[in-house]
């Protein structure tokens, strides 16, 4: 039986990249020049932070896994730039871009990668497990799709507490085949929860292409129909488009308390993680084509220069400043101390760290 060949792609992706059709969309038109430059700056900061991470990893200072976000910047930047006080963010393990977008600093992020006590999780979480609850950022989750029920729960709490907010729950295209994601979809739709499931579709679940992993490929967002949920497909190389289409979903969450599945088409330039030699499952030409023609940072830079919001000189300065900031972060991480052996058994139980008269528990809680 022939496989269905219909791909549900955003219209703008079917044409060569050019000026954004979404520049005049109200959410973009209302941005001041300063806000646009700030958005560009944030994308550049993600890019340079990640590029700097590669060097730190190659120096052997970052352990385990390092999943880079380079190429996907417009997704986190576009979506998170729209969020307000009661909007929450949760994602999978490719979480550096989201972390920087919600306002986490390069220093704490870099120090976490090198396992230092000055890291955002005191060196206890690592690359895949960044958190900043004070910034409504709930991780950073290592198990594919495991964050989908949590994100749905955050949206449930927002609704329970009577707040006009939402949860943006990000996942990769590989996550859509996990059972937990489908269970989360069902609950979100059944209970009208203000959650937006953002599928960052970079084409590969680790080294397995969509065609080899997913029945009915090209229609990941459309699975929402099975749950009666709204869905949309978005060109993730164009930050204006990401903002415009996410705004629709956000309005649906805020005003109708309804969930949405957004499939945002994007691309990662590096392997699944630094442990992936990236030689077996895709063509170098493919990567080159994306870098040259669809790079989200360069496209936005061109856009802003064309609309005279930015000059090439200013763009250069922004990039240089981001590189310097990333260098400083690497230095900060280098110079920071490790956690101590005593720290290993802290932050496990609330009461262990908050012993007081009102502590309800007794007994041994951490064992030798």
């Amino acid at each position: 039986m022939a496989k269905p060949a219909v791909l549900t792609h955003p219209e703008s992706l079917k044409r060569p990249a050019g000026p954004s059709e979404y520049a005049k969309d109200p959410v973009n038109a209302k941005m001041t020049k300063a806000e646009k430059v700030e958005l560009y700056t944030k994308m550049a900061r993600i890019r340079h932070f990640e590029q700097r991470c590669i060097r730190v990893y190659q120096q052997g200072k970052i352990g385990g896994f390092l999943h880079l976000y380079v190429g996907q910047e417009a997704v986190a930047a576009g979506t998170i730039s729209l969020l307000g006080k009661h909007d929450h963010v949760i994602t999978g393990y490719r979480d550096h871009g989201h972390a920087l977008m919600v306002g986490m600093g390069m220093n704490e992020c870099m120090a976490e990668l090198t396992g230092k006590v000055t890291g955002c999780s005191k060196g206890k979480g690592g690359s895949m497990h960044y958190f900043a609850p004070d910034k409504n950022f709930w991780g950073g989750h290592g198990i594919v799709g495991g964050q989908a029920p949590l994100g749905t729960g955050l949206a449930y709490a927002v609704k329970y507490l009577g707040r006009k907010g939402s949860c943006l729950c990000y996942m990769g295209d590989g996550a859509v085949n996990q059972g937990a994601v489908h269970e989360a979809y069902n609950l979100a739709a059944l209970w009208d929860l203000p959650v937006i499931f953002v599928i960052e579709n970079n084409g590969y679940s680790m080294g397995t292409s969509q065609e080899r992993s997913t029945a009915h490929p090209g229609c990941l967002a459309k699975r929402a129909e099975g749950y009666g949920m709204a869905w949309d497909v978005v060109n993730g190389h164009d930050v204006y488009e990401v903002r415009a289409r996410t705004a629709v979903a956000l309005k649906r969450a805020h005003e109708e308390s309804k969930p949405t599945v957004l499939e945002i088409f994007t691309y990662r330039y590096y392997g699944h993680s630094m442990a992936d030699p990236d030689k077996t499952y895709r063509d170098k030409e493919e990567i080159k084509e994306y870098r040259e023609q669809k790079d989200p940072v360069l496209l936005f830079e061109k856009e802003l220069i064309a609309e005279k919001t930015l000059t090439p000189e200013k763009a250069k300065a922004i990039n240089e400043a981001a590189m310097e900031e990333a260098d400083a972060a690497a230095k900060f991480a280098d110079e920071s101390p490790d956690p101590t052996l005593a720290d290993v058994t802290k932050d496990i139980y609330w009461e262990e760290d908050n012993r007081g008269p009102d502590t309800s528990s007794r007994g041994t809680i951490i064992f030798e």
Binding site: G125, D134, P149, T152, G153, I348, W350, T364
Partner: protein, 325 residues
């Protein structure tokens, strides 16, 4: 003091905590309209309405994960698993997410969730519905596990669990749901991590938890009546945190120890208790420690054999006599 069943005691705890804190929510399969598969939550929907008492689809990974996410924002969900055996399809949520979130966030995130439901064999339902996962779960730092054996403890531990700022997993027992006992009607908690000497004795210490406590108390009566042996029964009540001192004090008093649990023996809770005693009270022992656990096989369906597979008073008496020999 009122006399009520274990089931009613659990319900009283939840009712009181629902009244006490508007962020407490009960959630689970059949907990609301159906009044609970085992009627533990009976009447609570009527009293508190559908915002506080919520029926979920059969979707454990989904709704348990949802509860964990909601708890991070300050909701205190009390999630019913129809059986703890069903937790296995939600293992990633229960262990990886609830158990690790505080640690991986460097202590920034609380996860004040309670997951409760029966965790027992002995009900003639076969292996898939008869798991006792307290040892598996308690082996993960970040998680707390309690196993009430009496109505008094059921209410007190449930209330402590709901007020706790960490994930607390309450293992109930369907066979105990109709057991009656005295339960104060006022507000009290049984702190997590405090064992209880359910029977004083001089010659032998039995350490047990959950329904094995009831089995051990029956065995203690037989041992006293038929063999003239004075048995002390220590109810752990809480697996993690663990009240090591109460166990050790009893060992120092009787110098002989029998460990009884409804788990399978391999990597069971009592393996840890045996280690504790030998490491801290080795010189107090007058005889090797013995154990009575469920026979090491998947739970058998046949009722006549299942009653012998899990610890019963006869098996406990026989093993106790070996320790005393």
């Amino acid at each position: 003091m009122a006399v009520m069943t274990y089931r009613e005691a659990l319900r009283a705890a939840m009712r009181e905590e629902l009244r006490r804190d508007e962020n407490v929510v009960l959630m689970g399969e059949e907990v609301a309209q159906f009044n609970g598969a085992y009627k533990v939550t009976e009447g609570l929907l009527k009293e508190f309405g559908p915002k506080r008492v919520v029926d979920t689809p059969i979707s454990e990974a989904g709704f348990i994960g949802l509860g964990i996410g909601a708890s991070m924002l300050g909701i205190r969900p009390v999630m019913e698993l129809m059986f703890w055996s069903f937790s296995y399809v939600a293992f990633d949520q229960i262990v990886n997410n609830a158990g690790n979130i505080r640690y991986m966030s460097g202590g920034l995130i609380n996860c004040p969730i309670v997951i409760r439901g029966p965790a027992n064999g002995g009900t003639n339902v076969g292996a898939t519905h008869s798991h006792t996962p307290e040892a598996i779960l308690a082996s993960h730092p970040g998680i707390k596990v309690v196993c009430p054996a009496t109505p008094y403890d059921a209410k007190g531990l449930m209330k402590a669990a709901i007020r706790d700022n960490d994930p607390v997993y309450v293992m109930e027992n369907t066979i105990l749901y109709n057991d009656k006992g005295e339960v104060p009607e006022d507000d009290y908690v049984v702190p997590l991590g405090v064992a209880d000497v359910k029977r004083q004795g001089e010659d032998l210490t039995i350490v047990a938890h959950g329904r094995a406590v009831i089995t051990s108390l029956k065995a203690a009566e037989i041992l006293e009546a038929e063999h003239g042996v004075s048995v002390e029964v220590v109810d752990l009540r809480s697996i993690r945190p663990l009240d090591e001192e109460t166990v050790l004090a009893s060992v120092r008093k009787t110098h002989r120890v029998l460990l009884v649990e409804e788990n399978k023996p391999f990597c069971g809770v009592d393996a840890q208790i045996a280690y504790l005693i030998q490491s801290r009270a080795f010189d107090e022992l007058d005889a090797p420690i013995h154990r009575v656990s469920s026979v090491d096989a998947p739970q058998i369906y046949c009722k006549r054999l299942e009653d012998q597979q899990i610890p019963n008073p006869a098996r406990v008496v026989a093993e106790a006599l070996k320790v005393l020999a």
